[in-house]
Amino acid sequence: MRSSTSYNLWLIAPAALMVGLFFLYPLFFSLYSAITTDEGGLTLAHLEKAFELYSNDILFTIIIVLASVVLLAILSISIAALITLSPFRSIVSLLGFIYRIPLFIPFIVTAQMMRTFLAKNGLMNNAFIASGMLTPLETVSFLGWSGIIIVFVWKQLAFCTLLITGAMAALDESQIRAARNLGASRLRILFQIMLPQITPTIGVAMILSTVTIMSVLSVPLMIGTGTPTMIATDMAFRINSYGDYHVANALGLVSYLICAGLAWFYLRQSLKDKGAI
């Protein structure tokens, strides 16, 4: 008995070591670095400085994240619902195939192509002009905050839809049939039968997307217009230009707190839903 326990310990030791060494240690080190001086004393100076210099960017990041997440939720739920509920199977099977394409395109490539697509003189405006819907003077550039949101939604939509479609498909088909023969329309089934049962998955998809959005550097750099920009850009800037790891880590702490805030909101919401029943 005892030998089997120690054997098991040896079995998980390499994995535990990996997690500790390459994940926990850097995480806690960066958090520690955000609130200590070089000499090792506790201080809030880095956080203060981060807020002083970058409070606009923090706000900007939060707005981008919230807007993207809301759009993502709306779009991915509609696509997933179409895929699972639409009576027009053949057009929908096409949709089920094409929506996954962005999964296989890296963020940097997405940013690159969106840059030439969304610009004032990009393909989108060119197409509108060629089709006579706009004149060259009426065109607007989507680069900037709206472009950033568009890129994030474009790229993350596939991932969220994949998760949500999976959750919808995992629901018992007969639950939906039972609602249908009681007279419920597809829209009603979506909102009253399916969504209440898959909120956990939607929450997970949105939180994972948030974490991705917070950590992508290429998109604000290539699509953004400079100021304000997102926290990730500021962190890179602090490190590359000043070698200032303390403020960079303080910004890291802030982005970590934003993610944690969203996660907390989600957990509280799901607990409340459970308690209400």
Binding site: P87, D172, S174, Q175, R177, A178, A179, R180, N181, L182, G183, A184, S185, R188, Q192, I193, P196, Q197, I277
Partner: protein, 354 residues
Amino acid sequence: MTHLLIENLHASYGDKVILNNINLAVAQGEMIALLGPSGCGKTTLLNALCGFMPIQSGCISIGDRKISTLAAEKRNITMVFQSYALWPHMTVSQNIGYGLKVQKVERAEIETRVNELLSIVNLEGLQDEKVTALSGGQRQRVALARALAIRPDVLVLDEPLSNLDAKVRLNVRHEIKALQKKLGFTSLIVTHDQEEALVMADRIAVLNQGQIEQLGTPEEIYHQPKTAFVADFMGANNKLTFSSLASLQQQISLSSLTQSKMQPSFSNKSTPYQVFFRSEDVGLTTLSQDHPKLHNETDAIRILGDVQQSAFLGGSYQISVRCGKHTIQADHHENLLEGTPVTLCVPAGALHIF
């Protein structure tokens, strides 16, 4: 009076034909059992009826309302599923009242209807319970109440009892039957348990490979099977095969083959002759064949054999008797040793010849 009418119904999955020319007329308040082996298309028939799958051709109507082109949500047919299909995020009363809520019935009225249904299915006091907290039998009763709440034109039940354990199944079986008598709803129930079909149904439709093999009252189906398949499926577990009429008559004296059993087509039949009978109809004695007592009964066949195996069934023993190349099962009140010579006696009325 015909309530539900299914005419020339064809349905298939891809190129695979599942339902092949189904015709069925169900009277108001009647309960029809669809009986058949696994994969014969029972569920498919219910799905076609409910509008969950497209049909190839044919017509389904309720009264004078043609429903085969309507969407599932407009047909007013509800289904009780084998897996209950309750919505786990709703309470018992929310589940039951959902159909009424969809129909925009007033809140107060929904509440009275739900309470009424709860008492009908013996679930009083459980209305605020989560459905996940209920037992299988209770869940199936909630599902039944939910399906009945909107007063459907037809109720269909797809193996509603097969997820329940034997004892609960007997209870719920009788409850459904009593409820059907009391409320008078028209229903179709799918089962592959022949006893369940016999007990519950007013008429039974035996399905085989997408076709109705025989439709009739439980007594007809049981005592006068029209085809070998029906006889076999309804528990005629003894089957003797004869290659020609001569070899058949050699075994079974002509007097036993009463006119009703001998169909005209029999004289020039190319397929082998099959004789079916139930083990419960076999009289078994250890007396020798020419014992005078055995000749009292004239219209019966007698077969000699010896005991091969004996199994205790609770009420009786099932004895396997080897008779030449055939093995015959017979019910007997006492255990017999292997090798005991016996005489089997089957009354002509119990024989089904095809």
